[in-house]
């Protein structure tokens, strides 16, 4: 079976600036695929090219085995897009946002109405159907945008930073709905700069930095490849954490010095912490945790994900 999204050497330039610098991607039916990276990594540009609203500068891109340049309308008919900034129609009600959008796909009015009601129930907005968009909370607007992306029963749903700017409770509600979609077999493609989001939702992901893909795999395999099992975070009561780095030599496989803390990459965190104390170092705080995608990113790029 051919991949739903197939990119080889995909490039997007804006003038002199190269936003996407030759990436290879394949997304298989039914998988949840993620682009993880900091702001400016080229995730959104990639998403816009996949959404057929931004022509690639160079390289191969095929969506649903069609050419985005030639078959834009036919491809978009089978995509659902949830953009980074909500662009709901503020002059319409919640329900009308879905029915009107359905009409853009040529869906008959009766079908549009039925589907709108089903989707409003799905994203738990049934009670707000007659309300205007403006008074909705950020989380509700995002859920409505997600519902709108589903109105044409798409083969692929593109989600650009689906939970950026939402409070923790609203995020979990969105994740839960997306997880439900995934269980129904919908192919999800999402970008995020939150590693917890990528770990929660993605079967497979690529880590992007500076327009390039720097790693690829499942969240677990990426962590196994690029990090140790555990991490010890130490904060020393000083302006210059680096001054302590040399005193920690040999404790971990790797040491990362950040402005406010030092990270030790180790197989066993408690053993490592015992060793720190044995060397009579007294950090103001010490934390042992499992390694995550943040650590993978730090290892690959030398920078943190969220600055």
């Amino acid at each position: 079976m051919p991949s739903l999204i197939h990119a080889r050497g995909l490039i997007k330039r804006f003038g002199d600036f190269t936003a996407v610098d030759g990436i290879d991607v394949d997304v298989q039916p039914g998988e949840a695929f993620g682009f993880l990276g900091p702001n400016g990594a080229g995730k959104s540009s990639t998403m816009r090219m996949i959404g057929c609203v931004s022509p690639p500068t160079d390289g191969v891109l095929r969506i649903l085995d069609m050419d985005p340049l030639r078959d834009g309308p036919r491809i978009r008919a089978r995509l659902g897009v949830c953009p980074q900034l909500d662009n709901l129609d503020v002059e319409l009600t919640v329900r009308e946002n879905l029915t009107t959008y359905a009409r853009f796909f040529g869906i008959p009015r009766a079908t549009a109405r039925r589907r709108a009601d089903e989707l409003l129930d799905f994203v738990q907005l049934g009670e707000r159907a007659g309300s205007k968009v403006e008074p909705l909370s950020g989380g509700m607007k995002r859920r409505l945008t997600i519902a709108r992306a589903l109105v044409n029963e798409p083969d692929i749903v593109l989600l650009d930073e689906p939970t950026t700017g939402l409070d923790p409770q609203a995020r979990h509600l969105v994740w839960e709905r997306l997880f439900r979609l995934k269980q129904q077999g919908v192919t999800l493609v999402l970008t995020t700069h939150y590693m917890d989001e990528a770990e929660q939702l993605c079967d497979r992901l690529v880590v992007m930095d500076g327009g390039k893909i720097v790693a690829e795999g499942s969240p677990r395999s990426l962590i196994e490849q690029h990090s140790t099992r555990e991490v010890v975070e130490l904060r020393f009561p000083t302006e210059d954490q680096g001054a302590y780095a040399s005193k920690l030599d040999g404790i971990g496989d790797r040491t990362e010095v950040l402005p406010d803390r030092i990270l030790l990459y180790v197989a066993d965190g408690d053993d490592a912490l015992a060793e720190v104390h044995r060397r009579s170092l007294s950090p103001a705080s010490a934390l042992v945790r499992r390694a995550g995608l943040e650590d993978v990113f730090l290892h690959l790029t030398g920078r943190t994900l969220v600055d």
Binding site: G51, R76, N87, L92, T99, T100, R103, F104
Partner: protein, 269 residues
């Protein structure tokens, strides 16, 4: 050979339906306040007709047409008000509202994620502006007939001309919206529109202007529209009106082509 032609044919399939769904969105968005605003749009030329046409007209009396025929000042001003109302109706929907939807509401970003293409948005918005503008025109023509400023038959013949004027200015407005950068530029558009309104042979015959100014005025789109509509409603149609029609058709074609092209550039970066 067939495979090279076919995609182009396919790509036009459903364009009309998709454009219609854009206009349909505007119908759905109609709310009570908007209706009143629309009513106001109709009121504007009527108010001008009574203030300048009737009020100031009482100070002026009759006015001589280029052919030498005498008509009352009210008869002279009424077709010009009809033409400028067709202009401002088309422009208000395709400049201020269109720009707001494009830049401020980001409405078209959402639409472009569907099978709709930029050109189809332009066409749909234009169709909507025309529906709105033509309702104004019909109402104003009815008033002209009621006030005995034209005959019912001529009013009937004038209507298609106002439709053409609307399409030409709608395309022009849309083109302008895709070129300007910020809200501040609307002051310029407003000033330009007002200058057209004042000097396009609307309130006085352009024959009264100094020669250079007169040539300039005769090139303006509103002058062409006023000339066409006045010619038909006063029953003095000739070759100049054919030029008017060709001019307005060209304006429409150029405006819409550039608008669609610019929208693709702006929205599909």
């Amino acid at each position: 050979m067939l495979t090279m032609v076919l995609p182009k044919l396919v790509s036009f399939e459903g364009a009309g339906r998709r454009s219609a769904s854009v206009a349909e969105r505007n119908v759905t968005a109609l709310r009570s306040a908007y209706w009143v605003v629309m009513l106001g749009g109709f009121l504007e030329p009527v108010l001008y007709l009574f203030s300048i046409g009737v009020g100031v007209g009482a100070l002026i009396g009759d006015i001589e047409l280029p052919g030498g025929r005498l008509v009352t000042y009210t008869e002279f001003v009424a077709p010009a008000m009809l033409a400028s109302s067709a202009m401002s109706g088309a422009l208000s929907e395709t400049t201020f509202n269109f720009f707001g939807k494009m830049k401020f509401m980001r409405l078209y970003d959402g639409m472009l994620a569907t099978p709709i293409r930029p050109f189809e948005i332009a066409l749909g918005e234009l169709a909507w502006a025309m529906i709105r503008g033509n309702i104004y025109s019909v109402a104003f023509l009815a008033i002209m007939v009621a006030m005995d400023l034209t005959t019912p038959l001529r009013a009937l013949a004038t209507f298609p001309a106002t439709v053409l004027v609307g399409f030409a200015f709608g395309a022009l407005g849309m083109m302008t919206s895709t070129v300007i950068r910020s809200w501040q530029d609307f002051d310029l558009i407003g000033a330009g529109q007002f200058a057209l309104f004042l000097f396009s042979g609307t309130f006085v015959p352009a024959t009264g202007y100094p020669l250079v100014l007169r040539w300039l005025v005769e090139l303006s789109p509103l002058y062409r529209s006023v000339d066409l509509i006045r010619g038909i409603s006063l029953g003095s149609v000739g070759w100049p009106q054919l030029i008017d029609v060709l001019y307005l058709l060209a304006l429409f074609a150029i405006g819409l082509t550039i608008a669609g092209h610019r929208m693709t550039k702006l929205l599909c970066k």
